[in-house]
Subunit: 366 residues, 2 copies
């Protein structure tokens, strides 16, 4: 990997602001598509509605025929595997909710100028592939292996540094049971924008760990220092903080906005009478959702949880609301089995990561 | 259709501005996803990468089993057809490039506050369905029929008016050969966000005519005065202009940005030497592309046109460029068989419609 610095690619263009949104932010919003909140009704997000954060460009890969995955570095037996080789291995499917670590960034004040997500960077799919563990065991990790690095074929500049997108997992995590090398999403080959033909899926973690267009795995003798590992995806309150690397998703929930919208403001109009509120809740690392509460005008009530659809997948919830004419504020918040609960107000993060504050929606009932 | 005005849904919130982008604009950009420019390499835009302009909410339709299309109003024999009924009729597939009439809005100064598209609201798919003409002939249009109105199941407020999304075609156009009632896209059932289970496709027109979630057709004795027909999708330079209704797409072309991007600014870095520039060009109403020119630093050259892939589909083009180190500006412009050519600078439109100015990309060659 060449770590090239180039003077015109100036990392200082991304700044903290509390004003309107810059053209660069809007251009990113045009590239990165979110899951529409009404699409939370589907257990599995339909093709093309699952959120996407594309750092660089989607590689133009017309066929998987000559794609290979190489596993090298500190291993006893380096491997080079085709898609067919991989598909002959044990196959496993998992339903996994993925969320972008920057989801909610646009709700922070001040906010980092970057992809301006409001709430929409989360989706759930059934991912099919083979456990990473088996591949690493076959290659045979050296005891000197300190970090397992995953590279995609997407390339560009972040923070002034040119690199292929790369992320790592420590051997204990990489050898866990549930990390998959994946070739199918909801029963179909990966779409180009979701990593065709091959990607990693790290259940329970924010999306940055699930490297798309995966073509090589490198076992190294030191912690990986690539930009996406040490220069981004770090919780920090101030520039000078050493910070905490971002790993698992924080507990969170969202409401499907009831009623009908105004096309421009997205303000909702709801008919009076019984309204079934519906939404989703999830947490990280496979920790179950224990409780979802909904507040109408500040009065909290417990919602009913829908059946569990998978350890790593979001959970539906419902609450019947007797809507009375006037203006109302709806909020929801989830609590997970660790006792973690969503905060009412966002916690500040310098880069806009990990905002899991409660979701609020204003509605007019007539 | 009830045309309800509600005081909180204030159409004046959408305004002309030349400043940064408002939160409302960014929220829309988060909902409406564009085709990534690198995806122009595919003749048919892959599932989930085709642009989407969703006015209201995507209806939650789990099955097509109880969906019907009704054809009524000034017809001899009103019809109510299931999906199975429709699929037993003559089947036709067409490759059609659709573009949002608001594509390029964000490049106008001043601009209307609305969905802030830059270049990405265009895509091409193979649409399969049955000709509308046959359905209308079976129902038997009354000679008193002046307009054929198409309604979707999506509902909300635009311009302060509550309505189901509706658009019309005059009988001559509706009875043309190429307007389709469509249930499949690129060989698969429509995705929810593209109109599942049924939509209209009007080849050669901007996307607003291709009504999604189509469930009823109404033949009326006067020109349709619904909001989407007379309150929006009108070219106007000033508020007081009567304006011109928007119909067919204007000639246009785009470049796939060469090299690799900076994640935030999308600025491109290109290696010196031969670079094959590639892009797409299209026009409206099935008018062929006659010529594509590419300018490097203002010097125009003719590009080579790729094979035609369909009367209503975009056309690929290529040009070899010997890239020399330094800063360069690339532009492309198309000319169609009517002699219409893209302007260098955008024409102003009050609502940001029909911007077909040349596409410019700045690149750094090393």
């Amino acid at each position: 990997m060449s770590n090239l610095h180039h003077p015109i690619f100036n990392p200082e263009k991304s700044r903290l602001t509390d004003g309107d949104f810059s053209r660069d932010e809007v251009r990113l919003a045009g590239r990165n598509s979110g899951t529409l909140l009404e699409a939370l009704r589907w257990d599995l997000t339909p093709a093309g509605m699952h959120y996407l954060l594309i750092h660089f460009d989607v590689p133009f890969v017309e066929t998987a025929d000559d794609w290979t995955l190489s596993i090298g570095g500190l291993v006893e037996k380096p491997l080079t595997l085709t898609l067919d080789d991989l598909k002959r291995r044990p196959v496993r499917s998992l339903r996994v909710t993925l969320e972008c670590a920057g989801n909610g960034r646009a709700g922070l004040t001040p906010r980092r100028s970057s992809q301006p997500w409001h709430h929409e960077a989360v989706g759930t799919a059934e991912w099919t592939g083979t456990p990473l563990k088996g591949l690493l065991e076959e290659a045979g990790l050296s005891p000197r292996g300190r970090d397992v690095v995953f590279y995609g074929r997407d390339r560009g500049f972040s923070g002034g540094i040119e690199h292929d997108y790369g992320r790592s997992l420590v051997p204990d995590k990489a050898l866990g049971d549930d990390v998959l090398v994946v070739w199918a999403m909801n029963g179909a080959p990966l779409l180009p924008q979701h990593g065709f033909p091959l990607r990693l899926v790290v259940p329970g973690w924010y999306g940055m760990a699930s490297v798309k267009w995966l073509d090589r795995i490198d076992v190294i003798d030191r912690p990986f220092d690539g930009y996406q590992q040490v220069g981004s995806y770090i919780y920090r309150e101030r520039v000078e903080d050493p910070g905490t690397p971002i790993t698992t998703m924080r507990v969170k929930s969202l409401i499907v906005p009831p009623g009908v919208p105004d096309v421009y403001t997205r303000r909702r109009l709801v008919e009076r009478g019984r309204v079934e509120l519906f939404g989703r809740a999830w947490s990280g690392a496979g920790v179950p959702i224990e409780k979802v509460e909904v507040a109408v005008d500040g009065q909290w009530q417990n919602a009913r949880l829908a059946p569990d659809i998978g350890r790593y997948a979001w959970r539906g919830w419902r609450l019947d609301w007797e809507a009375t004419p006037g203006e109302h504020e709806l909020m929801c918040r989830a609590t997970d089995a660790n006792g973690d609960v969503q905060p009412i107000a966002p916690r500040f993060d310098m880069s806009g990561f990990g905002n899991n504050a409660v979701h609020r929606i204003d509605v007019t009932v007539r």
